[in-house]
Amino acid sequence: MGHGIAAADGPSVTVGPMRGIISWGAYLPYRRLDKSQISVFIGQGGGRGTRAVASFDEDTTSMGVEAARLALRGADVSGASAPEVVLFGTALPAYADKTNATAIHAALRLPAEVPAFDMGASVGSTAGALRLALSTVGNRLVVTSDMRTGLAGSADEANGGDAAAAFVIGEGDGVVAEYIGGASITEEFIDRWRSPGDIRSKVWDDKFSELTYVPAGRQAYKNALEAAGLSADQIDLVAVAAPTARIGSALASKVGAAKVVDDLTATIGCTGAAQPGLVLANALENAEPGQTIALVVLADGADVMILRTTPAIAKHTPARSIASQLESGAPLAYGRFLSWRGMINVEPPRRPEPARPSGTAAARTTDWKFGFVGSRDSQTGDVFLPPMRVSSDGQRTDQMEDAPMADVQGTIATFTVDRMAYSPSPPIIFAVVDFDGGGRLPIELTDTDLEEVAIGGRVEMTFRRLFTADGIHNYFWKGKLIRG
């Protein structure tokens, strides 16, 4: 025990130093689709409420980076909590064959010695990543991310959502929620499925799924309580990630917990492989010290993880809370949603599409392209974006140091809108950004409407997928307005 997943993790996992969650980050994309637009447009589907929509320049990897950046801000990542392994789970990996976690690793500028693994293209993979990380030793960065939609007018389109969540898991005084036990029930049955490359998943029968999941969930819950040495009435908060809100609430109503955590399905949607992390993050953001939280994941069986918050959680403020991100979302027209997801093709500007990025050129500039690291002249302090080897007066070579800029904010010096340049979602809003403490870069702004942009506006950087050419995803950074 204590070195990997077992049928159940009991108190023995806590014999050593206290182990659990040190920090977390939840990332919600900026756009919200008002689901009432759907039936007006397409004649079916939709419903009430909203869902979160990843931008045209986001994918599960880029959203994973954003969630991980938020999680790492809350941890002593250069010291005791430095991640030793990265585990990435999503049901919609940007690449097959090639590892996706390595792009996250590069964007976070983790040491090469830190391994980065993908967990497999299923919802269950993220439950596995979390349980594996909680029940082993050493510091783990678990990143979970998903985008979920379906054909126009479908239930998955209306009820799905896009999001990411990440956790720094390890030992010591920084633990804000201690892992005290868990259990799993595995079931092989046809609930949801998608062949690689398909644009949507299919579902067998909701009722059949509910009748399979609820007993599996109750059994796993019972086993986890036993493993943790707790009774049902000792659980303060239960957070359920289920394929549908209905299945989730069916299970939650039967486990006897004091309080059910909002699963965010009415505002964000069912976020697939991101949902276990998202509901756990929501539980942590609403928990007080000394509370027990049961996370239940219903995906090809059931996984239950029980945590107890520590006094440290009172001092832990998330870098960007779920509540604040819920407040700052902006509406998106349904037609644009469809084009972003590739469900309808919109006439592009009559300009050449970008060529694929060079694999070798990108490999030489990984720190710049993925980590947004420029160079700083060690004598004059001039910042170069991208990094340069020669000083601006041309007199000195290789007297530069790294200038990591991903977390540096900036101010808009001037801006424009380009209605002719190629973009997957024209027009391009573009600004010349002056970074605090030096450095300037003319760069595209994303998650931004033109009328919001002004000289003097404040900007932060975000990791995005600029375009895909020849199957190569071109990841780099964009600016976005600082909100909230």
Binding site: R350, P352, T365, T414, T416, V417, D418, F430, L441, F476
Partner: protein
Amino acid sequence: MGCTNFVENWGASLDDMMIDAANEAYASAGVNKDDVDAYWFGTAQSAMSGIALARALQLQNKPVTRVENYCATGSEALRQASYALASGAYDLCMVVGAEKVKDTGFQGLNANPIPNDGTARTLTAAAMFSMIVPAYGNKYGVDEETMRAALSHIAVKNHYNGARNSRAQFRKEITVETVEKAPKMAGTLGLFDCAGVADGSAAAIVCRAEDAHKYTDKPIYVKALSFIAGNGGGLTDPNYDYTTFPEIAACAVDAYAQAGVTNAREQVAMAEVHDCFTPTELLLMEDLQFSARGTAWRDVLDGVFDLDGELPVNPDGGLKSFGHPTGASGLRMMFEAFLQLRGEVPEERKIHSLAEGRKLALTHNLGGYPGEMVSFISLLGAELD
């Protein structure tokens, strides 16, 4: 010199246009193909190597150097040929600039992709130059309406001039209302704030000044050739404010020193400048020292640079009327200077400044974007001293 019409030349190939421009230049100078010792061939991306010109003209064992330097390519080809003559290596050279833009099927000018890491910006030139407008207005306290009026004046002026030029692509006068009602392309720039896109070719026969009268009674003398390749500093330097092109300001200082010009506003008779977008021409009036900083908008509105003004700018219609076949544009500008200085333009396009005693024509090319550009300036005159 020779110059084809600049048009969307669906029926003519690059070779066709180069043959026509070259033959016009041979005839203009009264020289035979075999008299020419060496060739400089400017094209940005319509062909590679000197072979493209040698094959088109069927040159017989002649050296041909292919030149590329962004939108200043044609000018740069002439600069290189001039230095080869000055060195004494050759006695008679030909410069041909040509571009076939309209075979791509795309809008605008699009650079051939060079393999890269995917992090470079992918904006259009229109968007990059549009950033000048708010920056200039803010710095000098020129309100949006006045800025708009100045930019529209530039567009109307250049189309007025182009309407009087049989070689121009667009030969219709336009009104301020047309400019201001046109669809927006980038920032506040509309369709008529942008230069057109055309195919074309232009050519020149060049020799040392002392040999010129062997070929013609009316040679045009090169008084200055200046070129600066910017180091891109403006893109990353927070002190750059998008209200000037430092490469061009420095290039102007160098060119005026070469030609002994001490007061450009009073000594230059005409200028062909790189009006890729209307705000570009506005800033050029200051960087070329025609207007004091922050006052070009007023000079523009006062008609200083109109065809009948004190210092006519783009009397042939400019890039606005001609479009911009990259490799040819620099030579097309020199062709207008050549015609004006020789008194060979039609009456309706004649400028008064030459008759009033000014003697120098200026041509100016830029390539790139605000913050990162190449700049070329020549000064030409009909008199040796």
